[in-house]
Symmetry: C2
């Protein structure tokens, strides 16, 4: 068992600071370990309780009947050094320190943090944290974190210097049925740094894409080397904050991070192939995009839209990002003429002007564009709608259950065909669609989940599709250059 | 009855091009008029049918027993001039032309469009469209548009040169229970232009905010005059597309719009007080922000957050937009010390470091910031969570109905208090919160609806809150300058 296996595939866990008070982290984390269904052995430590949440409680780490693989530590700062020493004395090699109040609060906290790391290193104990939310490893059904979220197993790893950004990602991924391979809140990174986790995730076969939120690097060179190595095989998508004075100052008081120069970070991204995202939603959108699309050969985009406005928004967004909205050849226009009403746009974006929105015509147009040599990626704004004749009745609440099933089946089928076209032509097909149904009928989330069932996703706005295509194209270009 | 009353408060409608085929717009629009619950008289015209969707059908406009207030026209382009002539002959003064295939398809379409307008004007008939999605006027329960969406009555008016962008807004507003005063798809604007609707909306007492999607102006000066007049009393928030060559070209083939120079439009916005939005979500976010907040006195922002990462993201976003993340005085820090654990950030953003997230402490911190003279707007990242001890059980699906009610009541109460603080201190309090529950328990949409019940909204990401505060501050500054 490597150090990282002890963190992410432990067979036994000790929780220092277990509490019987549901308002305390020491209760919430135990509750999440329990409800998450962790299959290994769990040893809560509490000096005065015999039992919490059905677990037998131990007075001290020394009393636990084995040397556990992993310690989770939530004791107050005043007891932290003792707790770490108890762990090393019991032969524990991996610990997650949730407790806050270290380097992020200034000088006094810095020395306490240094003392804790010194004691841990002397005893051969590696640390995640302090000042973190904990870790999630769905393959082991390990949900050792503060918020009650239990994302299923998937291929996205999340490494976040912010616990709440990490849990936002976990919660939202879970909501649309998208799984995670790991969720790591790294906190102050007193011992293990973001780059250590990157290296490990580079080797982890379950992980296909790494999403990361970063406030600053403890060791910029080590991060650069790690990122460059990992991005040979898997994309790293990253939010880097603290690029304004206000943001940098907030990052300092949050995780004691020094944000560093935005220009240096730009250079790291360019040379190490890190893809940047501006916000949490964009980060996740790009991550899903990598998981569900082949890489494009270049920056040339074909757009098809069920309505003009979305097409214009997408064209503007593509052009701003540096993607090329290609001019269609006469040959392609002739092929599209066969599918579309006489008054279609005859140009890219291909505007279907609300015509034949029920039939699968838009999928045929997508295929014409995907087949075309001059196009590297297709953006489809809209998908065939379900049979409209029923819709008003369904929207008004009649025959709801049947209608719900009919619509979800429809979208599963339609997106399944999108997936087939991606494979057939080896090109990304990125869908943004407005299939948000009125809430008394069927929810957007239901449709999103139906679509993730068949390994696909869609976005809610035209510019989001453009951003995803741009990220795919940037990463493809980076890997070609190497 | 003014011309605009005939469009938006008609007592009778004639539909030219009514169809019994659910795949045709002539069926879909009739179906929406029916299911929307329009209370006036409806006269579908079709030469071969006697009845459609329960309505008595007439052979021609001449056969209709009265001169209807409004005509909706969906006949093919080949019959359009005859249809318009039939309307003028019957004394009709207002018509919405849904039919596409005019100026947007080139020269031939341009002359047809001109001919149609000439005939209409000779007969005193005003036109919306052609090439539009129709209109919605909830006060009259008039849903004369293509997509099956029925937003309730509210205070947001939407004027869109794109039908599908307009319907996206309608659909999403409806999903979270936010009403519209009007939804107008203006299409090619052969007769009535966006500025004509603006002037009317400026007078409409139901409308408090105008949202608009624009590809280009037929008459830039008239738009400028109209916008300047309306923005004295109500904010206009606008997406202007076609600012790249690819986007401008797409706009031309969509609604025959000439996008014009981005610099000229920037000048119009500055001088006429138009607030710009970059995408549909931002447009709606800002619109909700105006409806649910007083205007701030300046650009100084106080941020409170349940977790550090969201705080850093918000601080970065505020600083980039030119908002000032103010330094807290010693006095305010002392007041906050009383509420927060010892290790809190002692700075702005006020980071509650996951402490007391269940109690209403965050609302107390919001109040301390709102009370403070040096702060013009408060951004609250997070709200008190419902009792966490139940959450894991609820999340896992036990006692779901009770839990659902408990959580919705909780958020109604919490956001009700936010509303009271806004009134008490006369300052915007903009909330972004991650209260997205796992889908097998209770949906984000449910919570959003519960919150709109009490006249409040919240956003999903920290930078969205910053964007809203910035829009409020910009409009406030504009109105002060005038």
């Amino acid at each position: 068992m490597t150090d990282f296996d002890k963190f992410f595939k432990p067979e036994s866990i000790v929780l220092l600071g277990a509490s019987s008070d549901p308002r305390k982290w020491g209760w919430q984390i135990l509750s999440n370990i329990l409800h998450g269904g962790f299959k290994g052995r769990v040893y809560p430590i509490n000096p005065v309780r015999d039992e919490i949440l059905g677990y037998k409680v131990y007075k001290s780490v020394a009393d636990v009947p084995e040397a556990p693989d992993l310690a989770i530590i939530v004791v107050p700062t005043t007891s932290i050094v003792t707790a770490v020493r108890d762990c090393t004395a019991r032969g524990i090699k991996a610990a997650v320190v949730i407790t806050a109040g270290f380097a992020e609060i200034g000088e006094k906290g810095v020395s306490l943090q240094e003392e804790m790391v010194r004691v841990a290193r002397e005893g051969g104990l590696r640390l995640i944290g302090p000042n973190c939310f904990g870790i999630v490893s769905p393959a082991s059904r390990l949900y050792a974190q503060m918020p009650p979220i239990y994302p299923p197993l998937g291929s996205i790893a999340v490494v976040s210097q912010s616990g709440n950004v990490g849990s936002t990602i976990g919660r939202r991924a879970m909501a649309i049925n998208f799984g995670l391979s790991r969720l790591i809140s790294t906190g102050n990174e007193a011992d293990l740094h973001v780059e250590d986790f990157l290296v490990d995730l580079g080797r982890d076969s379950q992980t296909k894409v790494v999403l990361s939120y970063i406030e600053g690097f403890k060791d910029g060179r080590a991060f650069f080397r790690a990122a460059k190595e990992v991005s040979r095989h898997k994309p790293i998508v990253m939010i880097k904050v603290g690029e304004t004075e206000a943001g940098a100052s907030a990052a300092r008081s949050h995780t004691a991070s020094l944000s560093g120069s935005p220009r240096v970070f730009d250079g790291i991204c360019r040379q190490a192939g890190v893809i940047r995202a501006g916000n949490i939603r964009e980060l996740m959108n790009i991550g899903y995009g990598f998981l569900t699309n082949p890489l494009p050969r270049g920056k040339r985009v074909g757009i098809v839209t069920l309505g003009g406005g979305w097409g214009v928004l997408a064209a503007d967004a593509c052009a701003r990002l540096g993607l090329e909205v290609v001019r269609l050849s006469d040959e392609v226009i002739r092929e599209l003429d066969k599918l579309l009403p006489g008054w279609w746009s005859k140009s890219n974006p291909v505007d279907m002007v609300g015509g034949s929105i029920i039939s699968d015509n838009i999928l045929r147009v997508v295929e014409v564009l995907a087949k075309y040599d001059q196009i590297d990626s297709v953006i489809s704004l809209g998908m065939p709608l379900p049979d409209l004749s029923n819709l008003p009745r369904l929207v008004m609440g009649e025959d709801k259950e049947n209608g719900r099933k009919q619509i979800l089946d429809h979208y599963r089928k339609v997106f399944g065909r999108v997936g087939e076209l991606k494979v057939k032509y080896g090109k990304p097909i990125v869908v943004a669609a407005d299939i948000f149904m009125p809430r008394n009928f069927v929810e957007e989330l239901d449709i999103m989940c139906a679509v993730t069932d068949v390994g696909q996703v869609f976005y809610n706005q035209p510019h989001e599709a453009a951003t995803v295509v741009n990220a795919l194209a940037a990463y493809a270009e980076y890997t070609r250059r190497r």
